[in-house]
């Protein structure tokens, strides 16, 4: 029975892969037509950033990125609703804690660099946030129970910061008579930078808090389940 099920699943996946290959081949056969890339490059001077990927993520399709941050927030709320965090690991030995002392500042520095460089080269909020989150993971692995995160009150603010700044900027552009998240050209770069900074902090906090794996504000036994 199980064998039959896995065979069927395998057959479906193979069919799906073949179909995708066929789609790719057809797309390649169509040759160079009007693609989105050219339009993205054409609009680049008006966005205030020169990295096309950042322009797509925060200027052309800012709405999508806002919703992605919302997904991260919802995921963390789900993790927090599942129960309290498990206790941390035992304190690390000399070698590991020495490495952590070296690696964590380096991760934070690299995160800041990726955030800044995202305006004109590969980088950006998600990569920078992932590095901050990784710093938290490393700290928790080395025995820091809170993964280097601040208290619960500050954590809540940091976690909603990404979505909050994004929405506030959107509402501000709306109030100025432009569309939601269509930045005035002179301010574009700084608005994008502000959103990305908030998003980086929020993503880093969210990922580290997700690794802690439960709500951090009560280690008391709740309902006898934990």
């Amino acid at each position: 029975m199980r064998r039959a099920a896995s065979l069927i699943i395998g057959a479906i996946i193979t069919a799906l892969a073949l179909w995708l290959l066929w789609v790719l081949q057809t797309a390649l056969d169509m040759g160079a037509g009007p693609r989105l890339a050219e339009q993205a490059f054409a609009g680049l001077p008006t966005t205030g950033v020169s990295n096309p990927v950042t322009a797509v993520l925060l200027s052309y399709r800012g709405y999508d990125t806002l919703l992605e941050l919302g997904v991260l927030l919802a995921a963390l709320l789900g993790i927090w609703s599942l129960g309290v965090a498990s206790p941390g690991f035992q304190p690390a030995g000399v070698v590991l804690s020495g490495m952590v002392r070296l690696v964590v500042p380096l991760l934070v520095l690299t995160g800041g660099y990726l955030l800044w460089v995202g305006g004109y080269a590969p980088g950006g909020a998600f990569q920078a946030g992932a590095l901050l989150g990784a710093a938290g993971v490393v700290m928790r692995l080395a025995g820091d129970e809170t993964a280097g995160l601040p208290g619960i009150r500050a954590q809540r603010w940091l976690i909603v910061a990404g979505v909050a700044v994004f929405v506030l900027v959107g509402l501000a552009t709306l109030a100025l008579g432009q569309g939601f998240l269509s930045y005035p050209q002179a301010w574009s770069k700084w608005l994008i930078l502000a959103i990305e900074t908030a998003a980086t902090v929020a993503i880093g906090t969210t990922l580290a808090a997700a690794y802690v794996g439960g709500r951090p504000w009560s280690h008391a036994v709740v309902g006898g389940r934990d």
């Binding site: 990295n51 590969p122 980088g123 998600f126 990569q127 992932a130 997700a210 794996g213």
Partner: protein
Amino acid sequence: MSAGLLLIFDLVLVVTLIGLAIAALVSPDVRRAVMLFIAFGLWLALVWARLRAPDVALAEAAIGAGLGGALMLAAARRAARQEAVDGQTDARGEEG
């Protein structure tokens, strides 16, 4: 000559990527599967870099392989612990 070398490199990349994916899928041990998935993610980052998509490569290495792997390892550990607890209560139930 260099084009031929690059083709060989690309073929090795693709074959290893698919090999890692299959190994991760069929591995009966969850921990092993997660580790293979992390290796798969890092390898995929190389493939993205080769496709000249450094943004995606960075994201894949940092989130797909690094944090995703760490989260899945933690989840696997938790699931194993839960399984052990459930097994104990089951055994106790059979005794009683």
